[in-house]
Point group: C2
């Protein structure tokens, strides 16, 4: 999940100065319109220590009219607060209709810290996270708009921040204490974000290393959330068009742009290593069978990225009795008559078997999103539905391996053209492929969001460089084999 916020996004001072005035003006305008509505707005500012949450709060206070905004810092509990149920301190600070409440720290802080320090166990942690879901759901049903920000810093950047603070003579005691537990915090936070990433109030994961990028991004997301909510309640005549306010940065620097596409493998190396990993995989799948552990491998990727070829190298290494490949095409009538996850549930393997999904439930947040087959509310809530689904697989002991096969646009073009020229490959290229290609940027955004929302500790996305098909095949077989062997050795 957090890998999507470690891309090194940056904005220079000049660009910031150019963008900021308009953003500022439009935020104020949105706030004025908000004041006439029934909508209480809650902005949650949370994330890793050292990410500059305080600076973000200051920035929002600078941009917005202070008469309709109130900031609440949930810091130490007062005795007044400690003597009442835990949520009392939040209830008393909830913003009224037409106003904005900025929550610096929030109902997330305590459960995460308690879990990291072992004061509550896993079921209790989840119970508290579910309570948060119900609380936020209740506020949303009461016309509330909740905008949740999570500011992320890599471990390295957090260390840098720590040293900088020290050098400047203002060492933070919490930062130091918390940075020692970076990994525990990362796991706990991922868990929290995953469980509470509701369609009606999704998390916005913001890379916090560069101050200008961080602040502009926050401003824009808040502006977009406000404007689209206001547009929803106003008559089309009154409402200004909601322009998309994405930063160039976000489009040009997605997680896919960090896949090392220039990696290659020599023919000699290819045959040798592929054989080796296939041998290991063969043994691993039999061992999994014996231990009754199922394996599910999911393949997504660009058209012509080589999914079929990679899958064949995988199945070649397994006993034919052990695996099944599910090709996901258009749903059948019966499938259409059910929830979109139904057709994936039905194919779940029995204990000890391997199922390979050639395209998968992620269609909901990829093709269905980009092509408009699913409404925004539908694909937005799908992240949580998918995470919940995969969590159930994981809890049941199923080993889940997810692949995105990445190629660049030039390579795709080359392959398309080649397919058109080669008689036995001609059937593989259709008008639809060309049409999809035109939406390259939309798909890139969708993949980035998908990884940000659904790459989890127990089912991370593997982004495979596939400009070199052979390298991709080796990586796929190796990854599956390694994941199975690791899972079995944990038993």
């Amino acid at each position: 999940m957090f890998e999507a916020a470690e891309l090194g996004k940056k904005i220079g001072k000049q660009e910031y100065d150019r963008e900021e005035p308009e953003l500022h003006t439009r935020l104020l305008k949105a706030q004025r319109r908000l004041a006439e509505t029934n909508i209480p707005v809650i902005v949650i500012v949370s994330g890793v220590e050292g990410a500059g949450k305080g600076e973000v709060v200051n920035c929002l206070n600078k941009w917005l009219d202070t008469r309709g905004i109130e900031t609440s810092a949930f810091w130490e509990e007062s005795d007044e607060e400690a003597e009442r149920p835990a949520y009392w301190r939040f209830w008393r600070r909830l913003p009224g209709r037409g106003t904005i409440g900025i929550m610096f720290g929030s109902w997330y802080t305590r459960p995460i810290i308690d879990f990291v320090y072992g004061r509550i166990d896993n079921p209790e942690y989840e119970r508290q996270l579910h309570r948060i879901n119900e609380f936020e759901h209740m506020l949303t049903q009461d016309d509330g708009l909740i905008v949740k920000f999570w500011f992320h810093l890599s471990r390295k950047d957090q260390q840098k921040r720590l040293e900088l603070d020290k050098k400047e003579g203002r060492p933070s005691p919490i930062l130091k204490k918390f940075s020692k537990r970076y990994t525990e915090f990362e796991h706990a936070s991922e868990h929290a974000l995953r469980l509470t990433d509701q369609g009606e109030c999704p998390w916005h994961l913001v890379e916090a290393e560069n101050r200008h990028y961080r602040d502009l991004t926050v401003g824009r997301i808040l502006l977009e959330s406000l404007e689209s909510r206001l547009a929803g309640i106003e008559t089309p005549a009154q409402a200004p068009a909601v322009e998309s306010h994405e930063l160039e940065q976000d489009r040009e620097n997605t997680i896919l742009d960090h896949v090392e596409l220039d990696r290659t493998i020599t023919d000699k190396n290819y045959h040798r290593t592929l054989k080796k990993h296939q041998r290991e995989l063969y043994g691993a799948t039999w061992k999994a069978k014996k231990k009754q552990r199922s394996v599910i491998a999911v393949f997504e990727g660009w058209d012509a990225a080589g999914k079929g070829g990679a899958i064949r190298r995988l199945t070649a290494a397994m006993d034919a009795r052990l695996y099944k490949v599910i090709s996901v095409a258009a749903p059948t009538d019966e499938e259409k008559a059910h929830h979109y996850l139904w057709r994936f549930w039905r194919h779940l393997p029995r204990a000890g078997y391997v199922t390979i999904y050639d395209r998968s439930w992620y269609g909901r947040v990829l093709v269905e999103r980009v092509e408009g087959f699913a409404a925004p509310s539908e694909w937005q809530r799908a992240y949580q539905e998918i995470n919940d689904f995969e969590e159930q697989l994981h809890e049941h002991g199923i080993i889940l391996v997810k692949f995105w096969l990445q190629i660049d646009a030039d390579e795709q073009l080359r392959r398309f053209q080649e397919r058109e020229k080669t008689p036995w490959k001609e059937y593989k290229i259709t008008d639809e492929d060309w049409r999809n290609r035109e939406k390259w940027d939309d798909y890139r955004d969708a993949v980035n969001d998908m990884v940000a929302h659904t790459s989890t500790e127990y089912a991370p996305w593997n982004l495979i460089p596939a400009n070199d098909k052979k390298l991709a095949r080796v990586e796929v077989v190796k990854t599956v084999s390694r994941r199975i062997r690791n899972a079995l050795s944990d038993d």
Copy 2:
């Protein structure tokens, strides 16, 4: 909660035979219209052992067209099922759009049994219940209609059923095993119903002792659910009016009709016992202060039922530094700008203090429901919101005592007339009181539903007979005193 399903509701064979044909016809008609929609319908049949769930399922199968209905009995898990995540068996039996799936046993069964037999602990139980909520929420968002029935039998009636079965030579092994744990099952089920009583798919608690009543009630609730959902998606021109299909029984036999209004107390007894309980209460409140346990007493009841007088007898027995009375009238502007629960949260007492709410958050499901100030979706989801709120109070160690002061319509009339005649009481009677009186039956239904949904193990409703004011006062003081002393002795 279950006290609302132990009222001895009965329907004779004659009445059943008179009502059944029309119900049958309308159900079939609704089912035919359903077939042309996008809506999958899930009917959950659950409840205590011996309540005749199998008979209900047979009855539904008799009434509905078998071509659009499928019954799934979740009985022993097959090995196919055991080898997959627990929800697989439910996913595979989900009904398609336009059809009805009857779930005999469901996702509730296993968690409840596991909890009763100590195989899972409390946080894990709640985690599983929250998962159910999310599962049902997901289905509802996907246009699903979920109708949940819980069939209840009192312990006594369950015993009777057990003996009858034995006499007839068909003793049930599970019933016998489960009936030994009646109380544990009752607690576990209450917990489950409370946590999953969502506004979008509420529980219907059905008294199951009388077969005719049980079956007709099920048919009617299902019909109403279908018709109102179908009406929602059809243009008003097409949709037939949804008639209310309540049984006379339900209107004439609510939980309020079981309050023993003819109980009285002699003057001599009154003074003696009131004094005694007040003395005890005085000591109990100081002890609670010392132990930092707060007390919240909630008063609801008919106009002129004597809430004020009862509250005064309560406060007379406490040190003035310890208590606060909150009179709940129309909300202030500031209160209106927030969620309806906000104004109750803000008055929560500090540790060790007593707060008395003269009317309360229950206004949402009483006056706001009856007068139409809250939309049906709003008051329906309020049951769960309120239960969640009170659970937080309980978890924090707050002792919560809830009263409904019950009088009958004649007694109210007598008191209204007396107030009009007595100069210093005149201000106490308004046109509104007379107007409310006209909606007596609606209020009675609302109170019955309130008790059915919100009377919980840790915060049960106390229905106080108040035709005799003095008796009511004694009962109130005694109940508060006893609840505090019991809570403190549990520590």
